[in-house]
């Protein structure tokens, strides 16, 4: 099986700047409709860490770009 990864975004740390969305090569991140406690629309991970056919490879480019260290990256 090909190696896959997944991310976890802490929506309370995220300020919705959108830099991770431009960094993600697979388009797996979008801005959420929900608001967090600070009043920002945080980024959200489209895929589910349990799904088998997710596109995320765990390259961590989103986490490298994230100014607020809101993203944790995991690989299978």
């Amino acid at each position: 099986m090909k190696k896959k990864g997944f991310i976890r975004i802490n929506s309370e740390l995220c300020k919705g700047c959108g830099l991770c969305i431009t960094a993600c090569l697979k388009g797996s991140i979008r801005i959420s409709n929900k608001l967090n406690m600070k009043g920002y629309h945080p980024a959200e991970y489209i895929e589910n860490e349990k799904s088998k056919n997710r596109k995320c490879t765990g390259c961590a480019l989103c986490a490298i770009t994230c100014p607020d260290i809101a993203i944790e990256v995991f690989r299978d």
Binding site: G5, A63, D68, E72, F74, D76
Partner: protein
Amino acid sequence: MAKQVFKRPDAIKENVFHYCPGCGHSIIHRLVAEVIDELGIRDKTVGVPPAGCAVLAYNYINVDMGEAPHGRAIAVATGIKRARPELIVFTYQGDGDIAAIGTAETIHAANRGERLSVIFVNNGVYGMTGGQMAPTTLLGQTTTTTPGGRLPLRDGFPLDLSQMLAVANGSVYIERTAVTSPKNIIKAKKAIKKAFQVQMDDLGFALVEVLSQCPTNWKLSPVEACRRVEEEVMQNYPLGIIKDTTHKGD
């Protein structure tokens, strides 16, 4: 079993950054913390933050910090390093701090070859006070004190501090980097690591200039601000190693 490949560095405290969305400061704080973790020098590192947006850096980077008056970070760091040469001393300064108010001590510290690692964050405006013109502001750039754009005969020309310091004989390593894309961020981290390494090897003055985005005061979105750095700012301040005499070993 999933393995974690990216987590919060140990040298960053749990506090939430006070910076605006998309600000380059928080990325650079993380890079400094990662470098301190990788070199394993957290217990003997002392930082000197500037006056400016990053004045609260001691709330985030988990090392000893000593605050300095505006522009005097390098003078304070010189004192710390000379009194306790075994410590690793870095300063973290903005362009208004290092290139305007602290020009005198910065040039002389570089000329004396003080063993310091200097992180110089260049976003072209005075960010904390509301986006006034700084010495590094580009020609034609609109700020609150140059509403019609910076004019050379009225406001002077942009100051390239890194080039100035490269002329000083005491400086051994000067590089200009940016934090606009993952590629540039990885390069910036390498440069910051080398600046710390130069100090640990007792070679001389090391400075890393980081071109940073200021979406709030440029009145752009974070993504547009990154594009502006890449399209406009990098034309005036090209990236790359400006001076590196570390291989000579003196």
